[in-house]
Point group: C2
DNA sequence: TATTGTTATACTCTATAACTATA
DNA sequence: TATAGTTATAGAGTATAACAATA
């Protein structure tokens, strides 16, 4: 339980940090010319596993319509392919092409580098607190 | 200093929490029919102080062009007025009208309520850690 | 009848650059 | 010459609803 003093600007800090990190990633990856959802999408697929569109929507916190247009962009670019899921023919399984895998590795490295440098300046307890509060915000927002 | 184990998904958690809180605030304030930047703007002006457009841009982490259109919307609606700053005639001082103040109080109450309920489930140390990590992310993103 | 994913529409956010007025 | 803010343009995100195919 937290008293009033700690509450100032939690939501504002959250938004500012989100803006800053998205901007920084976009700048570091400017050579790849990716929109914000594209970055999340490639990072999610970087492990090489195939995923349904629904799974990607959940993993990237992206709306279905946004996801469709992001998938279209990366599809046109030859970074991924959509194949009907034989287990459920309403679904598509999304997988990266070799060029998509190369882009995904670059994206994952940039994300990881940014996190690594931020985490180098804080404690384990800070990280735990961060996750506790973001989880709490998602919980009360649900 | 934090080891590898804590690093998983800090940026993803940040984005998911931001999406969730913005969505929750939008839903709670749906009667006011406000766009996301409008909410930040009104919350920043809720204390009744006048602020320049530049100060509002910094306070709300909003881009100048986004801010102009948000100010235009709230201006048309009669929620705020822009007056030339006598100290620097290039700047505008933005202030709320009485109806804008009423809307701002509603917004501030919703933001505060959401934060209060989230903070009720975590410790002071968690909040400190949250601020430490969001600050670190903004620092390395700068 | 419910679910997966796409499409359509209208409004909003963003980056970029050009522009006005003032400093 | 530099800064505060607006305007213009084009690409992208969002909510909402309608839709096809499949379950």
């Amino acid at each position: 339980m937290v008293t009033e003093s700690g509450s100032l600007g939690v939501i504002l800090a959250l938004q500012q940090a989100t803006h800053a990190t998205l901007h920084a990633l976009g700048a570091r990856l400017s050579r790849l010319d990716l929109a914000p959802p594209d970055i999340n999408l490639l990072a999610s697929l970087a492990d090489g596993e195939r995923r349904t569109v629904g799974a990607l929507a959940a993993a990237t916190a992206t709306k279905p319509t946004t996801l469709t247009s992001a998938l279209d962009r990366l599809d046109r670019r030859g970074y991924l392919v959509r194949a009907v899921d034989p287990a459920d023919r309403r679904s598509f399984l999304v997988s990266l092409t070799p060029s998509g895998q190369a882009a995904a590795r670059t994206v994952a490295a940039a994300v990881h580098d940014l996190e690594r440098r931020a985490l180098a300046t804080v404690t384990e307890a800070d990280v735990a607190g961060f996750h506790a509060l973001t989880s709490a915000l998602m919980e009360v927002s649900g």
